[in-house]
Each structure stands twice: as structure tokens, then as C-alpha cells.
């Protein structure tokens, strides 16, 4: 039985456990039909031309983990940004861990999707926002059909949330192979500000496939800062589907740090429904071995006077492969749009490759749009310059690579995240120098 068939038949069993009066019951049944028709994407689709899911779909994944697992904080502390006070929504093998979490309902809701889907007091928000911007394609629909758990974050208006919110999904390897489908909803009302950190971490070598959907709504003048730390082990794969809907004068930023995992696909879409909106997406990808990271972005400029900024850096070693596919659509009404896109890459090995493709569809005539992609090697004359000052080859290489990706870190607003990313990069490059650049 293929994974698709298994999932479709699992849904029938799953459906029996559901409340048919739930506001999303019809959405689910609709979604599983879509998945049944669409299935998993293949390389025949333009958007998946350079990423094949075949190698990750071949495992016999458990869809509903049989065991509940516990983890001690001390054993997984290093995966937290533990230096700061934060709200935490933590899952172990797809199940909520109250032990590791710190949620709140005090003036804002930082809690579980399962609670939000089942309790009447969240009904209005769910009806207004759930599955409103996730596209009706196979992967998102699959997640929608099985939506059971994830983070639910609602920030009411005029609230500056002082503590960042960390969402971490651990998998323990209790299942021979595990498929996770977390579903997050983030609603940030007028004038509010929130910072969110998301991470997926497998703790064993058993294969894990995560197909995650996050819908983010940044309402009028809201500020959303979202950080994704993708540094999983080489048996874990992640398909991250994140959709951001913005209202007027809101600012939304997503930073994606991709350093580990077997296969990572980031589908990141921004929809600008209002004027004077700012959308920023930045990423650093540093991978090696046979790892594969694919960034597929979309910014949809719908109304006038908005901006978007994209800056992705990639460093590829060994036989690793990268994809950047950045689409910017500027509608006819979206005059005075400023849209910038940059994707710069360094290939360290002859066997590494990157496919980079900017896609601009501009229907307005008074806009500023720029894009640029570069692919290169490390500058040998710069290497000699550094080495002639006493900096050894490995450190010189690391310093240059770090300098190359440094401007992406400039916009990281939480110093502890910046430090952590810096350490991960140093570790990844096998050097022990404080890059305090």
C-alpha cells in the first residue's frame, strides 16, 4: 500500500473519532478529497521540478503514534532558546507535552490547536481564520484533513507580547517511522506584536516526515517576527507550508535557518491585503552531504504602496542540492510597489548544485522590482589574504562564509537567537572562533 493509500484509509478511521458538529468537519472531508485527487506533488509539476519527494515517501510511516512519550527538559534543553523567558508549546511525537510547555490565557492565548478546535470559546476565531489562506493543494489539504494538534496563538489588539513563543516538535524514534502533521494558527490583531520561534527536532535516526501547515494573520499595523530553525538530523525531512496574510501597515518577517535535515521544502507565501504593508523573508542555508533544501516563496502584492524584501543566502558542500524559486506577483492595482529579491549562493564542492529561479509577474506600471541571483565559489584571493595574516585555512573559509551570510542575521531582533545561529554555523563549519562581526 502506498503512503497515499494508507493516509486515505487512515482518515476513515480518524473521522470516526471526530465531532461531526465541529466547525472544521466539512473542511476536513473536503480536504481529504482534494488530497485523494491531487496526491503528493511530483517533479512533473513546475513548482517541484527540482525536488523529488520519492525518497522520503517510501517509508512505512505511522500516522497516529501508539505511544505517549516523555522527555526530560535537561535532555533536550539545548534545542530551546533557554537563555530567555518564553512561552513554550512543545510536542513529543505529535502529542502535547504539558511538562515541557508553558502556555497562557492571560490576556492572550498561547495554547493548543486541539483545544482551539474543540472548545466553543475559540469557535469564532477558528471559523474566521482556520484554513482561510492555505492553498487547496495536495500537501496542505493532507495536513488540513488530519489537523489535530499544533500551536494556537491569538494576540488580541494593542498587545506587545514581551516573551517570545517557542514551538518545538520532538520526535523520539519510538515509531519505526513517523509522519507528523502539525497545524499552527497565529492571529495577531491590530497594533500587536509577537515573536515566534519554531523548530522540529528528531532525537533518533528513525525516519521522520513532517508536513506542517502554519497560517499567520497579521492584522492592521500588527508586527510578526517568525524564526524557523531547521537543524534536524539527516533522517528527518520537513515540508513546511507557511502562509501569511497581511492587513494594512502590518510588518511580517520570516527568517528561515536551514542547516540540517534530509530534505527540506519551505513553501512560504505572503498575501498583502492592504496598503503600506512590509513583508520580509530571509534565509541562510548551509548544508552538505546529500542534503536538499528547497525554498519556494511567493509574495502577492495586491494593493498599492507596499514593500517586500527577500534575501536568501546558500552555502552548499559535498553533494548537497539547493533550490530557490521566488515568485513575486504585482497586481495591476498594486502601484508604487517596492519588491526586492536576492539569492546568493556559494558552491564549495564540485558535486554540489543549486537551481535558482526568480519569477516576476508584474501587471502594474509604476513599481520598483529588483532581483538578483549569484552562484560562485569562495574567493581564493580573499582566502590567501586572510591566511597571510595567520588565520588558518579552515577558519578563513568559515570567516568568509560567515561574512557572506552575515547580513541575513542583521535583522534578527532576538540576540539569543543570533548567538545560537552563530554557534550552529561555527559548529557546522567545524571552527571554534567567535564570529562577533
Amino acid at each position: 500500500m502506498s503512503l497515499k493509500e494508507k493516509l486515505v484509509s487512515s482518515f476513515m478511521a480518524f473521522e470516526n473519532t471526530l465531532d461531526v458538529d465541529s466547525p472544521i468537519h466539512d473542511i476536513r472531508t473536503e480536504a481529504i478529497k482534494t488530497f485523494e485527487t491531487e496526491g503528493f506533488p511530483t517533479k512533473r509539476e513546475e513548482d517541484w521540478k527540482y525536488t523529488s519527494l520519492n525518497s522520503v515517501l517510501k517509508h512505512d510511516y505511522s500516522v497516529f503514534p501508539k505511544h505517549e512519550n516523555a522527555l526530560e527538559f535537561k535532555d533536550v534543553k539545548k534545542y530551546f532558546i533557554h537563555e530567555i523567558d518564553s512561552y513554550k508549546i512543545i510536542f513529543i511525537d505529535g502529542k502535547y507535552s504539558s511538562h515541557l510547555s508553558q502556555t497562557t490565557h492571560d490576556g492572550l492565548d498561547v495554547c493548543l490547536m486541539s483545544a482551539a478546535l474543540n472548545k466553543p470559546k475559540y469557535r469564532l476565531i477558528i471559523e474566521n481564520y482556520f484554513n482561510k489562506i492555505a492553498p487547496k493543494n495536495g500537501l496542505s489539504s493532507l495536513n488540513t484533513a488530519f489537523s489535530a494538534e499544533g500551536a494556537y496563538i491569538h494576540i488580541p489588539k494593542n498587545k506587545l507580547v514581551a516573551k517570545p513563543i517557542q514551538i518545538i516538535h520532538f520526535s523520539t524514534g519510538n515509531e519505526a517511522a513517523l509522519m507528523l502533521q502539525p497545524r499552527n494558527l497565529v492571529v495577531v490583531d491590530e497594533n500587536s506584536h509577537v515573536q515566534i520561534i519554531e523548530r522540529h527536532q528528531s532525537l533518533t535516526d528513525n525516519p521522520v516526515l513532517t508536513n506542517s501547515v502554519t497560517e499567520i494573520f497579521a492584522n492592521k499595523r500588527a508586527i510578526v517576527d517568525y524564526y524557523k530553525i531547521q537543524n534536524d538530523n539527516e533522517n528527518a525531512s520537513l515540508i513546511d507550508n507557511t502562509f501569511v496574510n497581511q492587513k494594512q501597515e502590518s510588518h511580517a518577517k520570516v527568517h528561515t535557518f536551514s542547516f540540517g535535515g534530509k530534505l527540506i521544502r519551505n513553501n512560504l507565501n505572503f498575501y498583502q491585503n492592504g496598503e503600506r504593508i512590509d513583508s520580509t523573508m530571509k534565509g541562510i542555508t548551509i548544508i552538505g552531504n546529500k542534503q536538499h533544501v528547497d525554498h519556494n516563496t511567493l509574495v502577492h502584492h495586491i494593493e498599492p504602496n507596499c514593500e517586500s524584501h527577500q534575501d536568501y543566502k546558500g552555502i552548499f558542500d559535498d553533494s548537497s542540492t539547493g533550490v530557490f524559486n521566488g515568485k513575486v506577483v504585482v497586481e495591476k492595482e498594486a502601484q508604487k510597489t517596492n519588491a526586492f529579491q536576492a539569492n546568493n549562493n556559494i558552491l564549495i564542492s564540485d558535486k554540489a548544485s543549486i537551481n535558482t529561479k526568480p519569477q516576476l509577474e508584474i501587471f502594474a506600471d509604476d513599481v520598483k522590482c529588483s532581483h538578483g541571483c549569484t552562484i560562485g565559489q569562495l574567493d581564493e584571493s580573499a582566502m590567501f589574504y586572510l591566511r597571510s595574516r595567520g588565520i588558518p585555512e579552515k577558519e578563513a573559509r568559515a570567516l568568509l562564509m560567515f561574512a557572506f551570510s552575515n547580513n541575513v542575521l542583521d535583522s534578527v531582533k532576538i540576540p539569543e537567537i543570533k548567538n545560537r545561529i552563530t554557534k550552529i554555523i561555527a559548529n557546522k563549519l567545524g571552527v571554534n572562533i567567535g564570529f562577533d562581526l
Binding site: 574567493d379 580573499a382 597571510s388 595567520g390 585555512e393 562577533d436
Partner: protein
């Protein structure tokens, strides 16, 4: 300090240095002059350990040790410093942090702890004042957008920070106006001692008015064809290089 014996070097199988003999003792300043394409910069790069040059014959001894097999950074740790003719721009690395990394990596190679931050700041302040370098300049990306003069001054600042045994200044005077030239030369003179040595590579005699050499060598077609004292530099300035070419029958 430095002894070069019958050094032959080539790049991509093209012979550039064709039997250089040179001895530089501690406390000395040597000038190497010569027409364009004579091999001056190649000699500097070969001593500093640039990998694209292949030494095909002869050797380079630093304090008696053959450094041919050493990587550029290992030569730097032993006290070789090259002031680049064209310093490389490195966006994203500030001058200060570059120097911190260079000093601490050199200390690490010698089995020493990192220099305490306080001492580092003091050293940076002292040396930047000596070279009349603005503090703001130190937080800028290394050489990025620097004027020609700023780049050269920054090279000598690095030399001051690293205190090399053997400093090779490759065309440090090019791109400098007279005031900058004086500041740079002054810096070099202050760093000079009986325990270190300086090789000044230059096309013109101008710099040698400020950094006075003990010996002047003329490099032509990959060989030192004439050596003398500082008067030789004046003669070259007055008469050009053609008479030397004739003299050696090139």
C-alpha cells in the same frame, strides 16, 4: 633572518622567478626595484606562501628553517608579513574583528591564550593612533569601499598589530598622496628594530626617501641583476631601467 637560494618559481608552468639569491639580515631594510613584469610581486607572494606559485628549484630559509612546505598561515605565525599591493575587499568582516581573529589565531598557534579584550582594545587604539586612523574606520568592513590610500594605511596598521619579523611591503607607495606616504613610512620606521627586517618592493624611488634602504636590488626577468646601496635607487630614478637591461644584455 631570510636567505633565498637560487629560487625558481612558476605559475601555470610559466617560469617567473629564475634563480633569485638574496640574504636579508635582522635590522636591515632591503629595497627591490625593477620594471613591470620583472617578478617583484611574484617574489613577495612566493615568500608569503601563495599556493598558485610553484617553487621548482631552490629554497627559502627563514631563520635557517626551510619554509617551502609551510602554508601561508604558518609562515605568518613565524613572523612573515606581506603588505598587499592590492588588498582584498572582504564585506561583512570588520577591520577590528579581522585583527582580533588574526592575532588570536596566531597566539593559538603558539600555544597562547586569546589576548584579553582590554589589551586588544588598547593595542588597537595605540596602533591606529600611530597611523592616524579614524576610530570609525575600524568598524567598517575590511577594505570595502576604502580609498587606495586607506587600504595601504590599513595594511601598515595590520603590520603594526602583528609585529612581524619580516615585513614585505609590496608597492605600498602606489595610490598614496604625499601626506599618506609620510604617515605610512613613519609607521614602518617606528616598527623597525634591530630584530626585524623589511623588504620594500617599489617601482619608484619616492618611498625610499622616507624608508631608507640599506641595500637596493634590481630585479629583471626573474633575476636580481644588480645590487647596491641607496644611491642605486637614485640612479634608477634618474636614468630609468633601460641601461640595466642593456647592461645585462636582455
Amino acid at each position: 633572518m631570510l636567505k633565498i637560494n637560487n629560487l625558481h618559481a612558476s605559475v601555470e608552468d610559466k617560469g617567473i622567478l629564475k634563480g633569485i639569491n638574496l640574504e636579508v639580515k635582522a635590522g636591515e631594510v632591503h629595497a627591490i626595484m625593477g620594471p613591470n613584469g620583472s617578478g617583484k610581486s611574484t617574489l613577495a607572494s612566493v615568500i608569503a606562501g601563495k599556493e598558485e606559485y610553484e617553487v621548482t628549484e631552490g629554497n627559502i630559509l627563514l631563520e635557517g628553517e626551510d619554509i617551502e612546505e609551510l602554508a601561508a598561515e604558518e609562515r605568518a605565525h613565524k613572523g612573515v608579513f606581506l603588505s598587499f599591493q592590492y588588498p582584498v575587499e572582504i564585506p561583512g568582516v570588520s577591520v577590528t574583528n579581522f585583527m582580533k581573529t588574526a592575532i588570536n589565531e596566531t597566539r593559538k598557534a603558539k600555544g597562547l591564550e586569546d589576548m584579553p579584550a582590554k589589551d586588544m582594545l588598547k593595542l588597537i587604539r595605540e596602533k591606529s593612533e600611530m597611523l592616524e586612523i579614524d576610530r570609525k574606520f575600524l568598524s567598517r568592513s575590511l577594505n570595502e569601499g576604502f580609498s587606495g590610500g586607506e587600504k595601504k594605511r590599513n595594511e601598515i596598521f595590520q603590520m603594526a598589530m602583528l609585529e612581524p619579523k619580516l615585513a614585505i611591503l609590496d608597492e605600498t607607495d602606489s595610490g598614496l598622496d604625499i601626506d599618506a606616504l609620510r604617515i605610512v613610512a613613519n609607521g614602518v620606521n617606528k616598527l623597525k628594530s634591530k630584530d626585524n627586517a623589511v623588504i620594500v618592493i617599489t617601482h619608484y624611488q619616492r618611498l625610499l626617501d622616507y624608508i631608507v634602504p640599506d641595500y637596493v636590488h634590481v630585479l629583471h626577468n626573474g633575476k636580481i641583476v644588480k645590487s647596491g646601496t641607496k644611491e642605486l635607487a637614485h640612479e634608477l630614478e634618474a636614468k630609468g631601467y633601460d641601461w640595466i637591461k642593456e647592461e645585462v644584455g636582455a
